[in-house]
């Protein structure tokens, strides 16, 4: 068995002590600033809504098959961070189904907050309600 010595720890001479101290101090100050939140951008909106959203969508998962492609529509209005987030969270909840924005597939998930949903418009597009979960979440099916 060969023997080697790991590089020695000695040799932190006085010339370097100042630099050593300053280096460690700078790193610790950086760490402390992060812990106290100083200089951080404002925190994002409360993140617990993911768990709540998953709970809201949970009954829908049983009706949407693995590998199925479903459409997605939500409250009318311009896209914003919340609407994009909820669309992507719907995909997250329903995986491994695919969720496409729009009403091209035969089954469409409705995710509405401003009840009642635009029923007339949905009916005009040829969809009927397959399931109403009572919390603003719907599953629509294209009428044959």
């Amino acid at each position: 068995m060969q023997r080697m010595s790991s590089p020695p720890a000695s040799g932190v001479g006085p010339r370097r002590v100042l630099f050593l101290g300053a280096t460690v101090l700078a790193a610790l100050v950086s760490l402390a600033l992060q812990i106290t939140g100083a200089g951080q951008p404002p925190p994002p909106p409360p993140p617990t809504d993911i768990a709540a959203f998953e709970q809201r969508m949970a009954p829908l998962r049983a009706l949407v098959g693995a590998g199925e492609t479903v459409g997605y529509r939500t409250d009318p209005g311009p896209r914003n961070v919340r609407s994009v987030k909820e669309y992507m969270l719907t995909q997250y909840c329903l995986a491994p189904a695919r969720v496409l924005e729009g009403t091209a597939p035969d089954r469409v998930v409705g995710n509405f907050h401003d009840l009642p949903p635009p029923e007339e418009e949905i009916a005009r597009e040829g969809f009927t309600v397959e399931a109403d979960f009572g919390n603003g979440v719907f599953l629509y099916r294209r009428a044959r």
Binding site: M1, Q2, R3, M4, S5, S6, P7, P8, A9, S10, G11, V12, G13, R15, R16, F19, L20, A22, T23, V24, A26, A27, L28, V29, S30, L31, A32, Q34, I35, P43, P44, P47, I50, A51, A66, G67, K85, M88, L89, Q91, Y92, A95, P96, R98, V99
Partner: protein, 455 residues
């Protein structure tokens, strides 16, 4: 979670770590107290990568629900562990023993422990505030993990499910690691990705400290802890559950193995360096760039030192290590027609105008500079500390400069990607440059500490 499930999860985590540790012992026969942390963290890094590959291979082969996978994989791991243990027993007499040297000053050791605890506390606090991680965690990485965990044979629908900007073509180290844990746990708790992120965070710290302990001694190792934990945003990035931290881990592991090769020679560290670089490519597209630039830098360094034959042979050993993960990444890239917005940009004739636009270059330089400022506070002081003369041993210093060179090349590569990006440049920089630089920083820190004189 039931007791049996908990044991299964423990098994899922421990078996790859043990096998990885044994692989490191086999390929890099060092022994002694000073080498333990390095072996554990490097072994854990390689082991987790192998576990991710085995899960993906199972899924790709049409493997069905958890029970068969758990049985087959556990049996395979146990066999591998036993086989490598038998080889190790025979190899024991050939090991090089690294004797522990005098410890670092006590104040510095205590400071390092404080910094480590502070970093862990910061990670836990951020994780508690956002247990599902930030946007990309659930919209990209954990979404893919859900496809892998839930999807049975149809898991590859994930490549079509995401909008183009969420990189459906990205490799699968992180999703496969999380999905594997979920399968063992029998559920999809947020703890899966959170524990994965925490494990990677600790492995990164352990790897950096362990490598520096062997290569440079206890002062450098102790110094690296506050240097790493003080890095602005590192604990945040870990808690966000993005793939940037695993990428940082694999890049640092690869460069650390090459530094060990510089110091101790042998083919084993080259194989491990190749495996880690391949795993970086199996983690993110940035890792592919890293693996390519690493090979280029190794060739260039060999050519510069006028030893082309040896360099070619070394590169082959690295390629042998990278074969599995790089092969998996290649199969994914070739076999799955998922588009990549940044690659597609090169087919657009307007890309040449974007590349030649000085205003864009200025914007990128400004962003890198400002983001770099957050990282360099400890780094600048370290560099100043080393200004007294680079009297470190030449092999270690060379390894340090090599790490810094590769990190610099990666930075240049990122700049070219930003120049060519089809997206709004300011938006692209604001959403990614800080993460990319943070991921590159541990490798840079390794290089910096290796290169400067500590005596």
């Amino acid at each position: 979670m039931t007791g049996a499930r908990f044991l299964l999860v423990l098994l899922a985590a421990l078996l790859p770590l043990v096998l990885g540790w044994q692989m490191v012992c086999l390929l890099f026969p060092l022994s002694g107290r000073a080498t333990r942390l390095l072996k554990c963290s490097l072994g854990g890094t390689i082991g987790l990568g192998l576990a991710s590959l085995s899960f993906w291979a199972w899924r790709s082969a049409g493997g069905s629900w958890p029970p068969p996978f758990l049985l087959a994989e556990t049996a395979l791991w146990i066999l591998a562990v036993l086989a490598s243990a038998m080889v190790l027993k025979k190899r024991h007499s050939q090991e090089t023993r690294i004797e522990p040297s005098r410890a670092a000053p006590r104040l510095l050791v205590w400071t390092s422990w404080m910094a480590l605890l502070g970093g862990v506390w910061l990670f836990v606090a951020r994780m508690a505030a956002e247990p599902h991680g930030r946007w990309d965690a659930w919209a990209m990485w954990n979404l893919k993990a859900r496809f892998l965990a839930r999807g049975e044979a149809g898991w590859d629908a994930l490549f079509a499910s995401s909008p183009g900007w969420s990189h459906p073509d990205y490799p699968l180290f992180l999703p496969a690691t999380v999905a594997r844990l979920w399968n063992y746990a029998g559920g999809e708790s947020w703890l899966g990705p959170a524990l994965t992120a925490g494990g990677m965070f600790l492995l990164l710290a352990g790897l950096l400290v362990g490598a520096l302990r062997v290569l440079k001694g206890p002062v450098a190792a102790a110094l690296a802890v506050p240097g790493l934990m003080g890095t602005w945003g590192l604990a945040d990035r870990a808690a966000w559950q993005y793939a940037d931290l695993p990428l940082a881990l694999f890049m640092t592991a690869s460069l650390a193995c090459l530094a060990l090769h510089h110091r101790f020679g042998g083919r084993g560290p080259l194989v491990l360096a190749g495996a880690a670089a391949g795993l970086a490519a199996w983690t993110k597209n940035e890792g592919l760039l890293f693996a390519a630039l690493l090979a280029f830098a190794w060739l260039a360094a060999g050519w510069f030192r006028k030893r082309p034959k040896e360099t070619a042979s070394e590169l082959l050993w690295m390629a042998a290590g990278a074969l599995l993960p790089l092969g998996a990444a290649a199969v994914l890239k070739i076999g799955v027609p998922a588009p990549n917005d940044l690659v597609a940009a090169w087919a657009d004739p307007a890309v040449w105008a974007r590349l030649a636009d000085p205003a864009r270059a200025g914007l990128i330089a400004r962003s890198f500079f400002l983001e770099g400022l957050k990282l360099v506070t400890p780094a600048a002081l370290l560099a100043a500390w080393g200004l007294g003369g680079l009297r470190t041993d030449p092999q270690t210093a060379r390894a340090g400069f090599f790490c810094l060179g590769v990190a610099g090349l990666c930075l240049a590569g990122y700049a070219v990607v930003y120049l060519a990006t089809p997206h709004d440049l300011a938006w692209h920089l604001s959403t990614s440059s800080s993460r990319l630089l943070t991921a590159l920083w541990p490798a840079g820190l390794l290089g910096l500490v290796l290169a400067v004189d500590m005596e």
